[in-house]
C-alpha cells in the first residue's frame, strides 16, 4: 500500500546473497500449508453459501470482532507490511508519515460512512446511491469507478507479488515470476468463486491473525535487544543509518524541495480521504447484521491496524539499527526486504536455524497477505459488475439471484485472468503509482458522492455523475501527465516527456474537484419531482436501520 513497492520489481536481486534461497523449501512448505488450509476453509464456506446474501455479504453473519479482523486483513497489504518497514529503515521518520494517514482515515469511515451504509445498502456502494438517484446512470458510474479502483489496486498487488517472489525465493527468472503471478491469480479466483464473501472473510481473518502474530514476535525480539528502551533503539538506528539525527526528523524523503513537499500534502489528503471510498472496504460493512456491529468492527479495525502500524516503527528502526542500510539496499534498493532480513537477524542471524525459520515464517506471512488482499479486491469488483452493471443496468432488473451469482463468478474469473495477464506484462508499471492512484480515485470519485448522497438534501443525479466521472477522469489524467509516467529516468516512459503536472499524486487537485463538481452539478440541475421523498426514505433508513437488509 505504499510507494515503497515501487522498485519491488526493479531490483529482483535475490535475497540469495543473504541466504533466502537456501530456505526456499521451508518458505514454500509454510506457504503451501497456508494455501491448503485456506482452500479447505473456502470449500467449507462454499457449502454454506446458498443465496446472494451469503455470496456477497457472507450471510451478514459475522460478529463485529470477526469483521474487524477481516477489515484489517483486507487493509494491511504486503506493501504496508514490507513497504512501510522498508521505508522507515531507509528514510527514517518519513517512512512513518505514511502509516498515520492510513490510520486516521478510518475515522472518516467510522463517523460518517460505515453505519449509514450498512443500514441503507445491500451488497455494493451503488446500492446506497440508487436509493435516491436515477438508478441506471448512477449504478453505471459507481460500478465503473469501483472496477477501476479495484483493478489498479489489484494490479499493484500482482506486480508486488511477482517481485516479492523474486526477492524472497531467489527466483529471478522471468518464467518463475509468471508462474507465481498465475498461481496467485488462480488461488484468489478459487477463494472468491468457491467461498464467496464467507470464504474470503475467513481467509482475511486467518491472514490478519498471522500477520499480527508475526509482527508482534519480531517487535518483541527487537525491543528486547534494546532493553525495551525506544530512545536507545532510535539512537542506534540513527547511528547505523549514517545520517545521524536527520534520520529521526521529517524531511529525508519528502523535504527535498517545494514540489516534493506539496506532493506530500497531496498524498496525505488522498490517504486520509481515500479509505472510506475504497469499494473492497465498503462492502465489508455488509457482512455484519447491524449498524452497531459495523461500528464495532471499525473500532476493532482501528485498534488492530493502529497497533500494527505502531509495531512497524520498531520493525523499521530495528532493521535500520540491526541490519543496516547497506545490507538492506544490497538486497532491495527500496527496502522491501527489510522486515524479512530483520526477522533473520533477530532469529540468530544468517546461517542460524532460528534465523532461517523466522525468515521463512515472515516471508510466508507476506505471501498470505497478498493472497488475502487480492481476493478481497476480486470479490468487490466482481460483485459490483454482477450486481450493479449486469443485473440492474444491462438486464434492467430482469434477472434472478442464481443468474446474478453466476455472473459474479464469471466476472471473478475474467477479472482474475485480466489481472494475471496485466500482472505478467505490466510488471514494469510503478506499483506505487497504481496504489496512490487507487486511493486518489476513491477519494475523488467515490467519497464525495457517498457523503452527498447520505447527508445533502439537494444532491442530484447530475451532481453524482459529474462528481464520479469528473473525479475519475481528472485523477487518472493528472497521473498520466505526472512525473510518474514520463519525463525522468524512473518514469514509466522514461524516453518521453509530457509531464505537465508536477505532483506524483493528483489528490490535491482531483479531490476538491470531485467535491466541487458534485455540488455544481446538483445546483445546475432540477431535482427530480420525487427527490424529497426519496431522500426522506434514504435518510430515515440510513439513520434508523428501518427495513435494513
Amino acid at each position: 500500500m505504499s510507494t515503497r513497492t515501487t522498485a519491488l520489481h526493479a531490483t529482483a536481486h535475490q535475497l540469495a546473497a543473504t541466504g533466502a534461497s537456501e530456505h526456499r523449501t521451508l518458505i514454500i512448505s509454510l506457504f503451501s500449508v497456508f494455501v491448503a488450509a485456506t482452500l479447505g476453509i473456502t470449500v467449507w464456506a462454499g457449502r454454506q453459501t446458498k443465496d446472494a446474501t451469503d455470496f456477497y455479504a457472507g450471510g451478514r453473519s459475522f460478529t463485529g470482532f470477526q469483521n474487524g479482523l477481516a477489515i484489517s486483513g483486507d487493509y494491511m497489504s504486503a506493501a504496508s507490511f514490507l513497504g512501510i518497514a522498508g521505508a522507515i529503515s531507509l528514510y527514517g521518520y518519513d517512512g512513518f508519515l505514511y502509516s498515520i494517514g492510513f490510520l486516521v482515515a478510518w475515522l472518516v469511515a467510522l463517523l460518517l460512512v460505515a453505519e449509514p451504509l450498512r443500514n441503507s445498502g445491500r451488497f455494493t456502494m451503488a446500492d446506497v446511491l440508487a436509493h435516491r438517484l436515477r438508478q441506471r446512470p448512477v449504478r453505471t458510474a459507481a460500478g465503473t469507478s469501483t472496477i477501476v479502483v479495484s483493478i489498479f489496486y489489484l494490479l499493484a498487488q500482482m506486480v508486488g507479488a511477482g517481485a516479492l517472489v523474486a526477492l524472497l525465493l531467489g527466483a529471478t527468472g522471468e518464467g518463475s515470476r509468471r508462474w507465481i503471478i498465475g498461481l496467485v491469480g488462480l488461488v484468489m479466483v478459487l477463494y472468491v468463486t468457491i467461498g464467496g464473501m464467507k470464504g474470503t472473510t475467513w481467509v482475511q481473518i486467518v491472514k490478519a491473525v498471522l500477520l499480527i502474530a508475526g509482527t508482534l514476535l519480531i517487535t518483541i525480539l527487537v525491543l528486547n535487544k534494546f532493553d525495551w528502551n525506544l530512545s536507545t533503539l532510535l539512537g542506534r538506528a540513527a547511528e547505523s543509518s549514517g545520517k545521524g539525527k536527520a534520520f529521526l526528523e521529517p524531511g529525508l524523503q519528502y523535504g527535498k524541495d517545494g514540489t516534493s513537499k506539496l506532493n506530500f500534502v497531496s498524498l496525505g489528503l488522498a490517504l486520509v480521504l481515500g479509505t472510506a471510498g475504497l469499494p473492497h472496504i465498503l462492502i465489508r460493512f455488509y457482512t455484519v447484521p447491524t449498524a452497531r456491529a459495523a461500528r464495532k468492527s471499525v473500532n476493532w479495525a482501528i485498534g488492530i491496524i493502529g497497533a500494527f502500524y505502531l509495531m512497524t516503527i520498531a520493525l523499521g528502526f530495528g532493521a535500520a539499527a540491526l541490519v543496516g542500510p547497506k545490507a538492506i539496499t544490497a538486497s532491495n534498493e527500496s527496502g522491501n526486504t527489510a522486515a524479512p532480513l530483520l526477522a533473520q537477524e533477530v532469529g540468530g542471524g544468517a546461517g542460524s536455524t532460528g534465523g532461517a525459520v523466522l525468515l521463512a515464517v515472515i516471508s510466508a506471512v507476506a505471501f498470505a497477505t497478498i493472497l488475502a488482499v487480492v481476493a478481497g479486491l476480486t470479490l468487490a469488483s466482481s460483485a459490483s459488475f454482477a450486481h450493479d452493471l449486469w443485473a440492474n443496468v444491462i438486464r434492467k432488473g430482469k434477472t434472478n439471484e442464481k443468474e446474478e451469482i453466476l455472473t459474479a463468478k464469471v466476472a471473478a474469473v475474467v477479472i482474475g485472468a485480466v489481472s494475471i495477464v496485466l500482472g505478467i506484462y505490466a510488471h514494469k508499471l510503478n506499483a506505487a503509482a497504481l496504489v496512490a492512484l487507487a486511493f486518489a480515485v476513491a477519494a475523488s470519485a467515490n467519497l464525495p458522492t457517498i457523503l452527498y448522497s447520505l447527508f445533502w438534501k439537494r444532491f442530484t443525479t447530475r451532481g453524482a455523475l459529474w462528481s464520479i466521472y469528473g473525479g475519475l477522469v481528472s485523477s487518472v489524467t493528472l497521473v498520466i501527465l505526472s512525473p510518474v509516467v514520463s519525463g525522468n529516468p524512473k518514469a514509466l516512459f522514461p524516453g518521453m516527456s509530457f509531464d505537465y503536472f508536477p505532483l506524483g499524486n493528483p489528490g490535491l487537485v482531483s479531490i476538491p474537484l470531485g467535491f466541487a463538481l458534485g455540488w455544481l452539478g446538483s445546483l445546475l440541475s432540477q431535482p427530480a419531482p420525487d427527490q424529497r421523498q426519496k431522500y426522506a426514505e434514504l435518510e430515515v433508513r440510513s439513520l434508523t436501520g428501518y427495513g435494513a437488509h
Partner: protein, 129 residues
Amino acid sequence: MDSEEAVEAAPTASQGPAEPVRPAIPVQPERFTQAQESPEFGDLRRAHRSFAFPLTVAFIAWYLLYVLLSNYAAGFMDATVVGNINVALVFGLAQFLTTFLIAWWYSRHAAAKIDPKAEAVRASMEAAE
C-alpha cells in the same frame, strides 16, 4: 396508519431485482417523509450531525496540521523532548492516540445518544406497519 395500503404498495426501484424471498418491506413514501419530519427524527439527526460533523472537521484539521508542520516547521518538529525522542515522534504518536480516543469517544456518544433515538424511531415505524 392505513396499513393495508402500506402492505400493498409496490416495492420502490431502489430495492434490487434479485430480492430474496422475504416479506416485502411496506414502502409508502409518505411514511418516510412523515418520519423524517417528526421531532424525534430531528433529535436523532442532530445527535449524529452535531457530534460527527465538527469532530470530522477537527480531526482532519489536526491531521493536516501535522502534515504541514512535518513539511514546513522543521525547527519545531526537530526539537528534542527526551533522549533521542523529538517533537515529531511525539506528534506522530499523538495522532495515533487521538485516533483511538476519537473512535472511543464517538462510540460512547453513539451508544448513549444516537442508538436509543434510532431505535425509538424505528420501533414507532415498525409498530405502524
